[in-house]
């Protein structure tokens, strides 16, 4: 393991540990409103200042990290799993299956998701707890985010199908699901990992955008997405640099995730 990967590993672990220790590090919690100090600057009481209604930003970053670091990868897992199923299988089977899968993913990518998401939100019950709303949000993102990855995976699987080692396995009498699971899927791993890591920041930002449609994480629960929305309309960074903390954390964590990828995964 090289130094950069070691450092990335430490960073990710440290961020995870901090978010898990949120209850001890910030006992007031993410929802407590210090109304006498809205938009307060960074201080000993509030390490990253307070937000518009006086909630401690440090606490919200910690709790938001816990939610985003848990649920964005979960959504990425769902979408990558679906992509592997649709794209990987179609590529492995080839022929009409591959053409059908590509047509289907193209159709899926061309749908106006914004309007569909608005419809989904309109159909959802109103009285759901913030935790359930966040689970629903990331689950929907996971369900909808597979198509682009499926296209990449179908091409990779299609290439693998005609590789020598697959042909040799076939000649040895291996076929069907066993061939796919033993020879094709392990060779798709670098592409799958790459798609998985790429999806995480995409889902975090998508959740932030969905907040504008009312589909994001419900108040008072924080997430990186809702914390990034605070940057809307921020004209001068110099005046309130502490407001950039969620953005910096997002960049650091995502960079660390990227550095954790092996050379093989990067190449994929």
């Amino acid at each position: 393991m090289n130094a950069a990967r070691k450092l990335s590993c430490i960073v990710v672990l440290a961020v995870c540990a901090l978010s898990l220790a949120a209850n001890w590090l910030s006992p007031a919690g993410y929802a407590k409103q210090f109304r006498e100090a809205p938009n307060a600057p960074a201080s000993r009481q509030h390490l990253l200042g307070t937000d518009d209604v006086g909630r401690d930003r440090f606490a919200r970053v910690l709790y938001g990290t816990r939610i985003s670091l848990l649920l964005a990868p979960a959504a990425a897992l769902v979408s990558t799993g679906l992509a592997a199923l649709v794209g990987g299988l179609a590529g492995y089977l080839g022929g009409i299956w591959l053409r059908m899968a590509r047509a289907f993913t193209d159709l899926f990518l061309s749908l106006p998701w914004l309007f569909l998401l608005i419809t989904v939100r309109a159909l959802m019950p109103l009285n759901v707890s913030p935790l359930v709303s966040v689970l629903i949000t990331f689950f929907i993102l996971g369900l909808l985010g597979w198509a682009a990855s499926a296209r990449v995976l179908s091409t990779s699987a299609d290439n693998l199908r005609n590789c020598d080692f697959v042909l040799q396995a076939r000649a040895s009498g291996l076929h069907g699901p066993r061939l796919f699971l033993i020879h094709v899927l392990p060779n798709l791993k670098p592409v799958l990992y790459a798609q998985f890591w790429i999806s995480i920041p995409v889902f975090i930002l998508a959740e932030a955008n969905l907040g504008i449609l009312g589909l994001g994480v419900a108040e008072p629960l924080p997430s990186w997405g809702s914390l990034l929305r605070e940057l809307e309309g921020l004209i001068s960074f110099r005046e309130q640099p502490w407001r950039l903390a969620p953005l910096i954390l997002l960049i650091v964590v995502m960079t660390s995730f990227q550095l954790l990828l092996s050379d093989e995964e990067v190449a994929a």
Binding site: P38, D52, V53, R121, L126, N127, G211, P220, G233
Partner: protein
């Protein structure tokens, strides 16, 4: 020095004196001048003054249209404009105007009673679908006009109209004879150029009838450039660069940022007519659990919720102090119609809990339960994208949490929200705002009548479902048909008191009227009524050389 030299010197002195006289006279006559610049936040939908329905077109109509009577945006009193005087008949069906003589349209044609008659007939033409005209429809039958003298005209309505004279503030008089109707105006400015999606240029009307105390013809400005700009960040940036002279309405965040750097440019005119409020769904057929409907229909429950909300905190935290705790349907800024016996509901969580306990609610382990043991939980829907309203909902969530009530805040896109609250009634509580431009309570008939579509908590009732709604219906009809302002005020005061007792709407705050005016603009006196900053545009002047980056 010989005689010739003396003559030469004398000529030189004379020439210099004449030059000085010309220079000073020119300076005196050119006082003002220049181009005022500000933004419209959307494309004007029409330049026809009788079809105006959107904010941008309203601004243009205000600057270009001449009206018979004008509500003074500062004193809120009605003042004579194109009409020298006016008289209302005792039955409230007729109004007679004595018109100002010698007034000319911008195209040079004379203003006469025929123009007033033409405007009224066109305004009331059902085929025109004028929303301005709708306010004048009082009953079956046509609106007629009668020219009673060369400078007098009477407008006759089929039924009495309450507050009739004030409605003429919205009616820009059009020319009966000019071939280019929209181009012939009686206001201080006229439309000179329109670039779709970019700007509207207004030039001074050389025939405008008003003069200042020194006898100089108004307006002072040569032109007004209205840039079409919907992005408020860009608008503020341009104002700070000195490219714009005023911003008519700004929100509290921008206001504070501006005030921090340039305190003289940010103007807070105090509480406006706008209000933010929430209400509970009381529709009998709404798809909500029956036990929740029982809570929402209980005035004690609604009053307790109202008492548990800290309005002072909402004003201070969400609007940085640029809002006032709301009292009721009428803002205290509405000098005549506000019932000054009423006060804003004070923050009393203890009293709210006692009120709920008297109704059988009980608090256990920090959670409130009703008499049947149901957890008290409901959702508040509001429109996504409105930061102040989202913040208010979060604060209400915490306030009610102290009573043990669980509130779920749901932000929805505007069309979905409107569909839920006005068609499907699939919601529990909603939080919205009311942008009020009309001082008269007749503008609120579509809210308070139980049969009205905008009777938010329980619209389109075939007959009033509660005694107090029946009483509000009766009082609103009385005030709408009475001509005597005192009698109207008595009726509407009682409506405000019933609303305060029954709390069908929980009024939260009245936002302040905030605006930004450059130091280059002289004569501005921002008020709370629209248009806040340029209501006296004809008297605004620009100080030369003061436009600079702020």
């Amino acid at each position: 020095m010989n005689m010739i030299g003396c003559r030469k010197s004398f000529r030189r002195i004379l020439c210099f004196a004449i030059f000085l006289i010309i220079l000073t006279s020119a300076a005196a006559f050119s006082q003002g001048g220049g181009e005022l610049r500000f933004c419209l936040r959307s494309e004007p939908k029409t330049f026809d003054p009788l079809l105006v329905d959107d904010d941008s077109s309203l601004s243009i109509r205000y600057l270009t249209g001449g009206v018979l009577l004008r509500v003074n945006r500062h004193t809120q009193a009605l003042e004579a404009e194109l009409a020298e005087s006016w008289k209302l008949s005792k039955d409230g069906k007729q109004i007679t105007f004595k018109l100002r003589r010698g007034v000319m349209f911008s195209d040079g044609s004379s203003f006469s009673p025929e123009d007033v008659a033409f405007t009224i007939q066109r305004l009331m033409d059902p085929a025109l679908h004028s929303s301005t005209g709708d306010a004048f429809r009082s009953g079956n039958g046509a609106v007629t006009t009668k020219i009673v003298a060369p400078d007098q005209i009477t407008v006759i309505f089929p039924a009495p109209i309450a507050g009739l004279d004030r409605l003429f503030d919205q009616v820009a008089i059009m020319s009966a004879h000019s071939p280019r109707k929209e181009a012939a105006v009686l206001g201080p400015f006229m439309v000179a150029e329109y670039k779709a999606g970019s700007s509207v240029l207004l030039r001074r009307n050389p025939n405008y009838w008003k003069k200042d105390l020194q006898g100089r013809r108004l307006p002072y400005l040569d032109s007004i450039r209205l840039d079409i700009q919907s992005n408020r960040d860009v608008e503020m940036l341009r104002f700070k660069r000195g490219e714009l002279d005023l911003i008519n309405v700004i929100d509290s965040d921008y206001f504070d940022r501006l005030a921090a750097g340039s305190p003289g440019l940010a103007h807070d005119a105090g509480a406006s007519l706008d209000s933010d409020f929430m209400w509970f769904n009381q529709v009998a057929s709404a798809p909500i659990p029956e036990y929740k409907r029982v809570w929402f229909r209980d005035p004690n429950f609604r009053r307790a919720i109202s008492q548990a909300i800290n309005r002072a905190d909402l004003s201070r935290v969400v609007f940085n102090g640029h809002a006032q705790p709301a009292v009721g349907p009428v803002s205290p800024a509405n000098k005549f119609w506000f019932d000054d016996k009423l006060k804003a509901e004070p923050y009393r969580p203890d009293q709210a809990l006692e009120r709920l306990q008297a109704d059988g609610f009980r608090r256990q382990n920090g959670t409130l339960f009703d008499r049947a043991g149901n957890t008290v939980e409901f959702s508040i829907v509001t429109n996504a994208g409105s930061k102040p309203r989202e913040r208010m909902a979060v604060m209400v969530q915490e306030d009610l949490g102290k009573l043990g009530i669980k509130v779920n805040v749901v932000t929805l896109d505007f069309p979905s929200l409107i569909e839920r609250i006005s068609q499907k009634f699939n919601y529990e509580a909603a939080m919205l705002g009311f942008r009020n431009v009309d001082l008269d309570p007749n503008g609120q008939m579509n809210i308070w009548l139980s049969s009205a579509e905008n009777h938010a908590w329980n619209p389109q009732q075939k007959s009033p479902e509660t005694a107090w709604e029946a009483e509000i219906d009766r009082l609103m009809r009385i005030q709408a048909s009475a001509v005597d302002p005192k009698k109207r005020k008595e009726s509407f005061d009682r409506v405000q008191e019933i609303v305060s007792e029954q709390t069908p709407m929980i009024y939260l705050v009245n936002q302040n009227a905030l605006s930004a005016i450059s130091s280059a603009v002289e004569g501005a006196n921002p008020g709370i009524l629209s248009p806040q900053t340029f209501w006296n545009a004809e008297r605004l002047t620009l100080i030369p050389g003061t436009r600079a980056s702020r």
